[in-house]
C-alpha cells in the first residue's frame, strides 16, 4: 500500500509502514510494542495506585477501580453465566481494559508529534497483528473453557440441536476470530484514517466532532470485543439439556 505523505506535520498519513525491529530471523513492529508498553504501563500504574491502600469506604482511584471491576463482573456474569464467570473475569477484563486504553490512547495522545524513522505511533489495536493475537487468544480460551468444563462432551455443541449444524459450527470456529480481529482492526484504523484525512483537508474545527465520534467508536469496539469474547466462552461452557 505504500504511504500517503502530506505536507502538514500533523496530517501525515502513512498506512502499512512499520518500524521494524529485527531479532535474528524474526521481525516485529516496533511502534506497536512501544505504544502497547505505554498502554500496559498506564494500566499497571492506575491499578497499582488504586489498590495501594484499599478501604471499606473507597476513596479516590479505588472508586474508579471498583466501578471497572463491577462493570467487568456484570459483563462476564451476564455472558458466561453464574457458574464459571469467575475463572474468566480476569481474561475478559484484561481484553476490555487493554483494548479500551489502546483505542483511547490512540485517539487522545498526539502521537504524530513524535517522529519515528519509519511508520508512526498509534493505537496498538490499529495493527492487524494485535487484533489477530487477541482474537486467537479468545478462540483458544473458549476451546479451553469448553473442554475443561465438559470434557469431550464439549463437541456435542457442534451437533446441537441437530447434526445438520455441524458444518456451520465448524465454519463458525474460523469466522469468530476473523470477524473479531477485523472488526476491531478495521474500526480503529478507519477512525485514525478519517481523522487524519479530515485534519489534512480542514485543519480546524471540523475534525473535532469526528474525533469525538472516534472516542465513542473506540469505547464501543472495546465493549463489543470483550462482550463477544465472553459470549463465546459462555456458549462453550453452556450445558445443553
Amino acid at each position: 500500500m505504500g504511504s500517503l505523505s502530506f505536507a502538514l506535520p500533523f496530517a501525515e498519513l502513512e498506512v502499512g509502514q512499520h518500524l521494524y525491529w529485527q531479532f535474528g530471523n524474526f521481525s516485529i513492529h516496533g511502534q506497536v510494542f512501544m505504544t502497547s508498553w505505554l498502554v500496559i504501563g498506564a494500566l499497571l500504574a492506575l491499578v497499582v495506585v488504586g489498590t495501594k491502600k484499599m478501604e471499606r469506604d473507597p476513596r479516590g482511584v479505588q472508586n474508579l477501580l471498583e466501578f471497572l471491576w463491577d462493570y467487568i463482573r456484570d459483563l462476564a456474569r451476564t455472558q458466561i453465566g453464574e457458574k464459571v464467570y469467575r475463572d474468566w473475569m480476569p481474561f475478559i477484563g484484561t481484553l476490555f481494559l487493554f483494548i479500551f486504553v489502546s483505542n483511547w490512547g490512540g485517539a487522545l495522545v498526539p502521537w504524530r508529534l513524535i517522529h519515528l524513522p519509519s511508520g508512526e505511533l498509534g493505537a496498538p489495536t490499529a495493527d492487524i497483528n494485535t487484533t489477530v493475537a487477541l482474537a486467537l487468544l479468545v478462540s483458544l480460551s473458549y476451546f479451553y473453557a469448553g473442554l475443561s468444563n465438559k470434557g469431550l462432551r464439549y463437541f456435542e455443541y457442534y451437533v446441537h440441536p441437530t447434526p445438520i449444524m455441524l458444518p456451520f459450527k465448524i465454519v463458525e470456529d474460523f469466522t469468530k476470530p476473523l470477524s473479531l480481529s477485523f472488526r476491531l482492526f478495521g474500526n480503529i484504523l478507519a477512525d485514525e484514517l478519517v481523522v487524519a484525512v479530515l485534519v489534512f483537508l480542514v485543519p480546524l474545527v471540523l475534525p473535532v466532532p469526528v474525533m469525538f465520534l472516534g472516542l465513542f467508536t473506540s469505547a464501543i469496539q472495546a465493549l463489543i470485543f470483550a462482550t463477544l469474547a465472553a459470549y463465546y466462552i459462555g456458549e462453550a461452557v453452556e450445558e445443553h439439556h
Binding site: G16, Q17, R56, L95, N129, L136, L137
Partner: protein
C-alpha cells in the same frame, strides 16, 4: 500507491513475530492484572457486599426484635390501663357503698331520735293533759263546793 501490497513487509496485513509476542504480552498482562487488580479489588468488593448483607440482616433482626418488644409493651400498657380502670371503678363503687351505708345509718339514727322525741313529747303532752284534766276537775269541784256553800 502503485503497488497494492497487502501482505508481507510494508503491507497493511503484515503478519510477523508481532502477533505471537503480542499474544504472550496480553496473557502476561492477564496474569499480572489478575494478581494486582481483579483479586484484590474483588476481595474488597465482596467483603463489603458481605458486610452490607450481614449488617442488613442484623438490622432487620433488630427491627423485628424492637417491633416485638413494642407489641409486648403495648400489650402490657393495655393490661395496666384495664387494671387501673378496674381499680378505679372498684374504689368508686366502694366509696359509693360506704357513703350509702353511712347515709342510711345516719338517717336511721335521726329517724330513731325523732321518733323518741315525738314519743317523749306525746307522753309529756299526755301527762300534762291528765294534769290539766285533774286540775280542772279539782277546780270544778271547788267551784261547785263554793257555790253550794254560798247558798
Amino acid at each position: 500507491m502503485t503497488s497494492l501490497l497487502l501482505f508481507g513487509a510494508g503491507g497493511l496485513f503484515d503478519f510477523d513475530a508481532t502477533l505471537p509476542l503480542m499474544a504472550v504480552q496480553v496473557v502476561l498482562l492477564t496474569f499480572i492484572l489478575n494478581a494486582l487488580f481483579f483479586k484484590p479489588v474483588g476481595r474488597v468488593v465482596e467483603e463489603r457486599e458481605g458486610y452490607v448483607t450481614t449488617s442488613r440482616a442484623e438490622a432487620k433482626q433488630k427491627i423485628a426484635e424492637a417491633e416485638r418488644l413494642e407489641a409486648d409493651l403495648r400489650d402490657q400498657l393495655k393490661d395496666a390501663r384495664l387494671a387501673a380502670q378496674k381499680v378505679i371503678t372498684e374504689a368508686e363503687q366502694d366509696s359509693d357503698k360506704l357513703y350509702r351505708e353511712a347515709l342510711s345509718l345516719a338517717t336511721a339514727e335521726a329517724n330513731a331520735a325523732r321518733e323518741q322525741a315525738r314519743r317523749e313529747i306525746d307522753s309529756q303532752r299526755e301527762s300534762a293533759l291528765n294534769q290539766i284534766k285533774a286540775d280542772a276537775d279539782k277546780l270544778g269541784d271547788l267551784i261547785v263546793e263554793r257555790l253550794l256553800a254560798a247558798k
